[in-house]
Amino acid sequence: MTDHSLAPRSLLLAGAVFGALTFGAAAQQPAAPPASGAAPAAQPLPPGSPLIGRPDNEAAAKLAPVAPPPLPASADKLPLAKLKVPAGFNVEVYAAGMANARSLALGDKGTVFVGSRLVDKVYAIVNKDGKRSVKVIASGLYRPNGVAFKDGTLYIAELSKVSKIDKIEDNLDNPPKPTVIYDKLPKDEAHGWKFIAIGPDGKLYVPVGQPGNNVLHDADHGQIRRMNLDGSGAEVYALGVRNTVGFDWNPETKQMYFTDNGRDWLSETVPEDELNRVTKAGEDFGAPYCYQGNIIDQELGWGKNCKDYTAPVGLMGPHTAALGMRFYTGSMFPKSYRNAIFIARHGSWNKSQKQGGDVVVVKLNKDGTVKSMEPFMTGFLEDNKYVGRPVDVMLLKDGSMLVSDDWNGAVYRVSYGKPKVAGQ
């Protein structure tokens, strides 16, 4: 990819814009606290700071990103009884004890691979002789959020590189170290962790988030790339992407759909997170100039027009952190769910009354636009506090669906019909 040397300049630019605005605001506030008068000259917040754009008021000052407890909950302490699904569906604990369990991928032989973000591990939930157990198959990694599987090989995305382990399911007890296939990636912490997946074209899709809440950036950020499975032939596939942590392909049209998290601090109610559809390579989805298809950003959007960007096909709620998503292609759930999209909403931090913290089901019209969105799995949010936070969803071969929960370090299984023991 192009030069990283561009980064400081464009990041500075973002800082300058912010600095100028802050000063404007300060000038309008005669009652500013005394010490701020003595503040040295403009020093913008860093581009990656989650505090960029935060308005100065008491309610806003109470909001900050929510960190999950570091220790996974034991199986008997999971909030299983609190989780609600529609009539006829059942929820059970599929596996527990995996600190910070995040993205999910399924092996050919039924192994479930689980990435993490705040610890250094990738886990495997192994099925052997009807028994499930959890193994750590890789550790010492840096924010290994993304996992994908194809033809025997596990792909792992860390903050700034993608690696693979061949024939992983034959070597679960003594897996070799991952070998790097691609590392031409920025190292920013902000939105640097990655969801990855392999498309129907056999390519690996790797996002690079924008390095902050609402910032201008160089040509290496704010996009989804795709590449061959050996890391060669990387190209930019979608632009104007702020932070996508989930995507999948429509089984009928083969078009990619992806969730994207909107900016913080604009207001309690907008912008909403997006569900986007890519109809051709190179489309621009607007961030950081245009959010949710119809809001020109108040700081960075001057001179821009939302008409110049692809609008989302669906809005996922403000600050709800819509993350992992999969089309339902199984046969276990009722017919009305066929080819619907299940989306895990991790839940908001940038909102006084938290929203999200659930799995929703989005049904599509024939033309691929959104027909409806309904809650599917709820109960993770209680009295404005999280008792769990869903990150990713994934189908098993029997048509049941797994849901990961990074708050508790667990994976749940949702099935339909008479409850029976999970199998594959």
Partner: protein
Amino acid sequence: MYKTITAVLVFASIAVPSNAESIQERAAACLACHGERGTSETENTPSLGGQQAPYALIQLFMFREKLRVFEPMNEMAKPLTDDDLRAFSDFIATLPKPAPPADAGDPARMAKGQALAQQNRCNSCHNTDYSGKENVPRIANQREDYLAKTLAEYKDNSRHGYDGTMADVMQPIAKEQIADLAYYIAHVR
């Protein structure tokens, strides 16, 4: 050398807990370096008093898992169970808050540090009185040398945070400013 010896001693006393031993007794070895009454008198070693239990738990977990690297602490945390980690972090939170330094601080440096802290909105996550909340640590009256060291380590990302927030926040802060910030936070009343 001194550190190694301490670590070994502590390791011995933490790793083989007899059931009769109270958390106070087990923590005695911790307090040998971190200070009996919440205030550390050991160079570069943080005061633990009044620390937020969720933050303390995260740090102990990170030491055990070697996500945060400091050998004596990695060694000490190695044999601890999840319940041990919870017990120690709850105990740490009950220690008295670290005592502010006797001197009120040089007014000019305090003003500089305060301005920096305001610009960078340290009070947003760390609370208006810097007492911290939940996973965000109490930093008020922390040792100045430890604050300066920690801020520098976050800046060059040699200390990985649980998440990346501090790495991002520290990006534009210059080295001289780290000294002013540490001075101010250590003296704040």
